[in-house]
């Protein structure tokens, strides 16, 4: 089985990589060790090699079913999971809330049981409620991969961000990363915090105080996992000497909800502009998880400028998701008469 799954993919990590850890779910990065993160990043490189071939197909997940269950709109995350599954030869089925029985009032629990009954090996879930993937993981034997839950986590995005940083700057250890924007509601920011800190980065968060979780506005105890994180409300301070500048999407309803006086003021105070980028390290890179509000959190000149790695993030997204799909240990269904011949 192991040999079959490896066919066609060179240089896969087997030391400390996710495949050897027996991981069933990818819910967030808080339960990844540094070694396991390294393993996923290494496997991502191997997957990139596959994606650079003229025929992009390997049989690693042949005979496996991947269901993407998206209860929120998404372009890049859903498409990249779908593509990742297809390159690995999995049967990929996409379910969105708009076209599913959830529109008829079916509960998430019953939807999940239905998908499990169809022998979904891996369920990739996006949901507006934090913890929806944990709920599925609690009740199903399918592997659960979190593709974004509420304001909680977006581990595959953080991994592709980390991979892109490593690719561009050589390593993550010791790098100064400024995350600018809606920290309060950003699942991307949170997953990056766990991942980047484990890899030894120095992280600065920057946002108006209304967009920072309230407990981050007070000193954190020494033993707190985020104790080393610096919080500032001045973007110039955050960008000073930064190796990586990560702009987060500002949800446009934050003005109406009273978090901000105006988008205009936000943009004046926090927009990543060419001028502000001069404060960063000379070879600093600019990232954005997308979709962007150009002119609000990021100036178009920066978003499409020489320091921007935003397109590479998207490309790396497919490879990272291949590594994650490949890395989870799918349920053994041989007892049910499947699998033995695969």
């Amino acid at each position: 089985m192991t040999t079959v799954r490896r066919v066609g993919i060179p240089a896969l990590s087997n030391g400390g990589g996710s495949m050897s850890s027996g991981r069933k779910n990818v819910l967030d990065l808080d339960d990844f060790s540094r070694e396991e993160l390294d393993g996923v990043l290494q496997n991502t490189t191997a997957m990139r090699e596959v994606l650079n071939r003229s025929i992009r197909k390997v049989p690693a997940l042949r005979g496996h079913t991947v269901i993407t269950l998206f209860h929120e709109p998404s372009t890049r995350t859903r498409v990249s999971f779908e593509q990742a599954g297809k390159v690995l030869s999995a049967d990929v089925i996409n379910v969105t809330s708009a076209g599913s029985s959830s529109k008829k009032g079916e509960s998430l629990y019953n939807t999940a049981l239905t998908l499990q009954a169809m022998n979904a090996d891996i369920i990739v879930i996006r949901h507006p409620h934090s913890g929806a993937p944990h709920f599925l993981a609690r009740h199903l034997d399918s592997c659960i991969i979190n593709a974004g839950d509420g304001a909680h986590a977006h581990p595959s995005q953080a991994l592709l961000d980390m991979y892109t940083i490593k690719e561009k700057l050589g390593s993550i250890e010791g790098k100064r990363v400024a995350i600018v924007g809606d920290i309060l509601y950003s699942r991307v920011g949170r997953s990056n915090l766990w991942g980047l800190l484990k890899m030894g980065a120095q992280v600065t968060l920057c946002a108006p105080p209304t967009l920072v979780p309230p407990d981050f506005l007070r000193p954190l105890p020494e033993e707190h996992p985020f104790a080393s994180v610096r919080v500032t409300h001045r973007v110039e301070e955050a960008l000073e000497g930064a190796d990586v500048v990560m702009a987060l999407r500002l949800q446009l309803e934050r003005q109406a909800s009273g978090h901000l006086p105006s988008l205009r003021e936000y943009s004046r105070m926090f927009c990543i502009t060419t001028r502000r980028m001069e404060l960063a390290a000379p070879d600093a890179i600019v990232m954005h998880p997308g979709p962007m509000n150009e002119g609000i959190e990021i100036d178009p000149e920066v978003a499409h400028g020489v320091r921007s790695v935003i397109d590479q993030q998207v490309t790396n997204g497919v490879a990272v998701r291949m590594a994650l799909l490949f890395g989870v240990v799918t349920p053994d269904r041989s007892a049910a008469g499947r699998g033995a011949a695969q």
Binding site: S130, D149, H224
Partner: protein, 454 residues
């Protein structure tokens, strides 16, 4: 219920009567549904049932100021029959039923319906709480005078505060005519909007919106100010923060007519339970699939350890008058969901005693004060709406008795609950102390050996 009830002699138990301060091994004789005598070596009258209470604690039956019996309207969650049997299994012989039924108890005829139903089907005494406002909608006062005549013991829009300050002032003033309290669910709606659990690191960690302590404290401060202004009585339901405790203490010192209750869960559990571990574990540990525990979702939310400690201290001091369960039964699918979709509430009647006895076992609270806060403490707030002597073992008091084994260890198995609501964060937990027998109006309504309420 027939008028003639057999005599019952409870022999050799440690009798704790907060009414008289009694705490000694002695006997209790019940006749005709009333307490006839408490004393050493009472001879058994002919034909009396004799209960050997050796090794047990004998107390007045518990009084719950705050529970949700769900009937009419939500009989899938609980009924008056199932809820009062659950009460009996938890040692409660008097329960005050909250008004948020469907239709709500916002007029005399619904109050009357609940009381008739309780008289026919209830295992213990049910005292209804009417709505403050019509349909508990917070716009116009409900017909409180008629409800008071029909038997309401207080008024509450529980689940929501009376958010309009001017209307709350009128409600307090109007209710003072009957000497009844407005029972307030303290929560500023705007501060609590969208909140699922306590605001703090756990909420940040889980990426869910929190309810700050200030949402409760701001409303409690307003209610205390209005109670002072009107000279009327406000009772604060399920207080949960250190700040509220301080305000109640200061208000009482100033002679303002404010009383307060606290739930078993706000005395014993913290917000960490939402992370999926009851004990041990650490809020910095990686989340597991058990995180987002919907059974720990309750309003007001489980708070911090500092709040729990403050609640225990306030109860010990008498700043908080009573333990009330806020028993909030739900059906299976109400909790089988994401945290956001899950209903608020804990099924509490059957675990209340075992949970709060942990405070006694940990020497945080005396057994005498604990029993008082389950009996005389709440009974005092019922005034003349309750039978004379309720919550005590005085001669002529109702023969409502709980026999407790304070050291019996048992594992919480929600599937064995008498309540229809199996929603508890304590499933699988070991509690020390349980109700052995419950007597209501001179009859045994629950016996642990028989397993079920009779």
């Amino acid at each position: 219920m027939s008028a003639v009830v057999k005599q019952v002699l409870i022999k050799g138990g440690r009798v704790i009567d907060p009414g008289s301060g009694l705490d000694e091994v002695t006997d209790v004789l019940l006749s005709n549904g009333l307490v006839e005598a408490v004393g050493k070596k009472i001879a058994a009258p002919e034909g009396a049932d004799i209960i050997d209470a050796t090794g047990l604690v004998v107390t007045p039956g518990f009084v719950d100021l705050h529970c949700h019996l769900r009937e009419p309207g939500f009989e899938d969650k609980e009924t008056i029959a199932s809820g009062t049997r659950a009460a009996a299994a938890g040692g409660f012989t008097t329960v005050c039923a909250m008004s948020n039924t469907d239709p709500p108890m916002d007029n005399a005829s619904t109050i009357d319906y609940v009381m008739r139903k309780a008289a026919d089907e209830g295992a213990v005494r049910v005292l209804p709480i009417g709505s403050v406002t019509k349909a508990s909608a917070g716009r116009e006062l409900a017909e409180m005078a008629e409800m008071a005549d029909a038997g309401a013991i207080g008024f509450s829009d529980d689940g929501h505060p009376v958010a309009d300050d001017a209307l709350m002032r009128q409600a307090l003033t109007y209710a003072s005519a009957f000497g009844l309290p407005i029972i307030e669910h303290c929560e500023v709606p705007e501060l609590a909007a969208g909140g699922q659990i306590n605001e703090g690191w756990v909420a940040t960690r889980l990426g869910v919106k929190g309810v700050p302590a200030a949402a409760e404290e701001q409303m409690a401060a307003r209610d205390i100010a209005l109670a002072e202004l009107t000279g009327s009585w406000v009772h604060l339901a399920h207080v949960s923060t250190a700040g509220t405790g301080d305000m109640v203490r200061r208000a009482k010192e100033r002679g303002i007519k404010v009383t307060a209750e606290v739930t078993p869960h706000h005395l014993t559990l913290t917000e960490d339970v939402v992370l999926g571990h009851l004990t041990g574990g650490n809020s910095f540990d990686p989340l597991t699939a058990d995180a987002y525990n919907t059974f720990a979702k309750v309003n007001p939310p489980l708070r911090s350890q500092a709040d729990v400690d403050a609640m225990i201290a306030a109860l010990a001091e008498g700043v908080i008058d009573a333990i009330a369960t806020d028993h909030a039964p739900h059906n299976r699918q109400d909790k089988l969901s994401t945290l956001n979709d899950a209903a608020f509430g804990i099924s509490n009647l059957e675990t209340a005693l075992g949970a709060v006895l942990s405070l006694v076992h940990a020497d945080s609270l005396s057994l005498a004060r604990l029993i008082e806060s389950l009996t005389l403490g709440p009974a005092r707030l019922l005034g003349d709406r309750a039978p004379a002597g309720l919550g005590t073992l005085a001669t002529g008091a109702p023969a409502d008795i709980a026999l407790i084994d304070p050291d019996a260890e048992w594992i919480v198995r929600p599937e064995n609950f008498v309540s229809k609501g199996k929603n508890t964060p304590l499933a699988g937990a070991t509690l020390k102390g349980r109700v052995k027998t419950t007597i209501y109006a001179g009859r045994v309504v629950f016996d642990a050996e028989q397993g079920r309420a009779s």
